[in-house]
């Protein structure tokens, strides 16, 4: 797979796990993708004063052990539940990696936009009422952006590099980028990367204030789309140096990153930043656009985002790449989306399958992308790309290879 002209050395994905509205584990995620129905439903976790559909995790979450109780948050619990999922083998492979490489040589980089904000919101209710924070509130360990990464580090008994990336909706993809670089620079032998984000009032009401929340399950790329459905998820991937023992594993080939330099919450009208991220990824991997067999779109289902992304995709790929958006199934999992959708693209390669775009009936007349509506099986796929674009004009495109 490594091309002669590649600037970036691929890294192996030696384990991956996910938790979302689709359930726990990659098999549950895959079943939702082939079932081709929305998993979105009205929010139950807390009240918001408007109609909504969300991708809320209903899977029972594992409790944080007593010794790490200071770190207890829904976000850390979602991460722990995904980590411990036996099917994903992330924890099993990490324990093996500790013996192989030592605890200081395994890094953790978690992308998140919410971190433990859900708990902080409850603490503020108490602050406003009683003029002080609750006794058990610990801002740095529960809410500050690195809280979940640090919790995982302590839970796993690791000692090396550990931080959070928080670049809004590109966070999960940027964590993968940073992990690949740490390995290629020999700063780590293995890195646990991913994205973890959980539902909270601030994001729901914030996106609503921008008039970007749909009152129905979102409809990515559809001409009648009217906004996003927010979701929550953990997507975890264990990255390791490529060697003979993991030759048959999927690989992260490269991640392309860019900035729009245009506006804090509106994408560049011609999709310059999105184009640049995809082109940078192709360049770093030493690939041509025609080498990409499947593109998982960012496709959030806002009017402007999907229009700009289709313009950018057409500029980079013409109409030659099969693409689809999966947020009609999972919701937009924000800081976790880049990791969750890299896992979806990985499942596509493993299963030789292209997910459909739930919610899409008809694209805009000016959209010339090959947007796949219904699941396609027995597809000869070798290389896939996953797009993530966030507030602040922060963009990342991940390329995965079989």
């Amino acid at each position: 797979m490594p091309k002669k002209s590649a600037l970036t050395t691929p890294v192996a994905i030696t384990a991956m796990s996910s938790l979302s509205v689709c359930g726990l584990g990659n098999q549950a995620l895959y079943q939702s993708l082939i079932k081709h129905e929305t998993e979105l439903a009205p929010l139950e976790l807390f009240n918001v004063p408007f109609k909504n559909y969300v991708g809320e995790i209903k899977t029972p979450l594992i409790s944080i052990k007593q010794a790490l109780n200071d770190y207890a948050s829904r976000n850390s619990q979602v991460a722990l539940t995904a980590l411990n999922c036996p099917e994903g083998k992330v924890r099993e492979q990490l324990e093996a990696a500790k013996i192989k490489y030592g605890t200081q040589r395994i890094g953790i980089i978690i992308g998140t936009s919410t971190s433990g904000l859900y708990e902080t919101e409850s603490a503020y209710a108490s602050l406003l009422q009683h003029d002080k924070m609750p006794q058990d509130f610990d801002f740095v360990k529960q809410h500050a952006y690195q809280a979940t990464a640090r919790f995982l580090q302590l839970e796993l008994g690791l000692q090396g590099i550990c931080f959070a990336i928080s670049t809004a909706c590109s966070s999960g993809a940027k964590a993968i980028a940073a992990g690949q670089k740490l390995i290629n620079n020999d700063l780590c032998d293995a890195v646990l990367v991913g994205g973890v984000d959980t539902l909270c009032r601030l994001t729901l009401r914030g996106f609503n204030s921008l008039e970007l929340v749909s009152d129905k399950p979102c409809r990515p790329m559809d001409k009648d789309r009217n906004g996003i459905s927010i979701g929550e998820a953990a997507g975890l991937l264990l990255l390791e140096k490529c060697h003979a023992n993991n030759e048959s594993n999927l690989k992260i080939l490269a991640v392309g990153e860019s900035s729009d330099a245009y506006h804090m919450s509106t994408p560049h009208p011609k999709g310059e930043g999105a184009q640049l991220a995809m082109q940078n990824a192709l360049h770093a991997a030493g690939l041509k656009s025609s080498d990409i067999d499947y593109l998982n779109l960012h496709a959030t289902a806002t009017k402007i985002n999907d229009q700009v992304e289709s313009t950018a995709v057409e500029t980079v790929f013409s109409d030659s790449v099969a693409c689809s958006g999966t947020k009609g199934i999972t919701g937009h999992t924000l800081g976790a989306a880049g990791a969750l959708e890299t896992i979806i693209a990985s499942l596509s390669l493993q299963q030789q399958f292209i997910s459909g775009t739930v919610g899409l009936q008809e694209t805009n007349s000016d959209c010339h992308c090959q947007v796949i509506k219904t699941p396609q099986f027995n597809q000869p796929l070798t290389i896939a790309m996953s797009n993530s674009f966030g507030f602040g004009g922060n963009n990342a495109s991940v390329i995965i290879g079989l």
Binding site: P49, Y124, I165, S166, A178, N185, R201, A261, N394
Partner: protein
């Protein structure tokens, strides 16, 4: 090509407490609001203004082209005041949030405004790592630089004033520092070794004034490195004041 050392081309500090910093022999600058166009000035927090002031000064000193410069923004709390203001509205279901405040609450707000201000489409990232925020920022910047076709990289470490009910004394003192890092020796002021974990840092021997300041201003973890640039000391330089300790050294 992987390098085991990194060059520092320039640094600049933004902290309103200039007396405090003169104790460390460091020159500090006030926030320069005129760096931002009026609309951006109104919308941005102290956090973003401090970070942009430090970054602009460091880039001017290093004479680097900001339009193509990749950047790492490292902060524990980021837009903490914006987040605080929004959190205060949430207990009431009927309170409407400001859309501008909401998109300005993300951790990469400063990174976003910096890229807009400089029309820079190069990658930018926003990270956090509690006490290790500066150490991890330096590692991430170093790591990006090695894998990039660019030879320069901006690292900005900053935290503004925090409400003291969140995590006192963190955020008592607003402090921002920007460094321009390079793979090239030309025009550099120092060469440092790759940060690593140290088994042997004795917490009792750390400068107590610095440890105190770093407890109130997470970004002030950069100070021992800046002081070493003056003294040219070849002792290990701590990059955080906690245990375990990340260290580097002048080469």
């Amino acid at each position: 090509m992987i390098h085991n050392s990194l060059f520092i081309k320039s640094f600049a500090l933004c902290c309103s407490d200039t007396e405090l910093l003169s104790a460390f022999n460091l020159l500090s600058h006030e926030v320069d609001k005129t760096l931002l166009p009026a609309a951006m000035r109104r919308r941005t927090s102290l956090s973003t203004k401090m970070a942009i002031t430090a970054a602009t000064l460091a880039c001017e000193q290093a004479k680097v082209e900001t339009k193509s410069l990749p950047s790492v923004f490292a902060s524990l709390g980021g837009e903490i005041q914006v987040t605080d203001a929004l959190c205060r509205l949430l207990p009431d279901d009927n309170e409407l949030l400001s859309p501008t405040q909401f998109h300005n609450s993300v951790h990469n707000t400063t990174a976003g405004y910096w890229s807009i201000l400089n029309q820079c489409q190069a990658p930018t990232t926003a990270i956090a790592a509690a006490d290790d925020t500066f150490a991890m920022g330096l590692i991430e910047a170093w790591s990006q630089l090695q894998q990039s076709e660019q030879t320069e990289q901006l690292l900005v470490c900053y935290d503004e004033i925090w409400p003291q009910y969140l995590a006192a004394p963190i955020g008592k003192i607003p402090f921002a520092c920007a460094l321009v890092l390079s793979t090239q020796a030309e025009g550099s002021i120092a060469n440092i070794s790759l940060p690593k974990l140290s088994e042997s840092v004795n917490k009792d021997r750390l400068n107590p004034e610095w440890v105190n300041l770093a407890a109130s201003a997470p970004a002030a973890n950069v100070i021992p490195l800046l002081m070493a640039l003056h003294t040219k000391s070849n002792h290990p330089i701590p990059l955080n004041s906690g245990i375990p300790t990340w260290i580097t050294a002048l080469l």
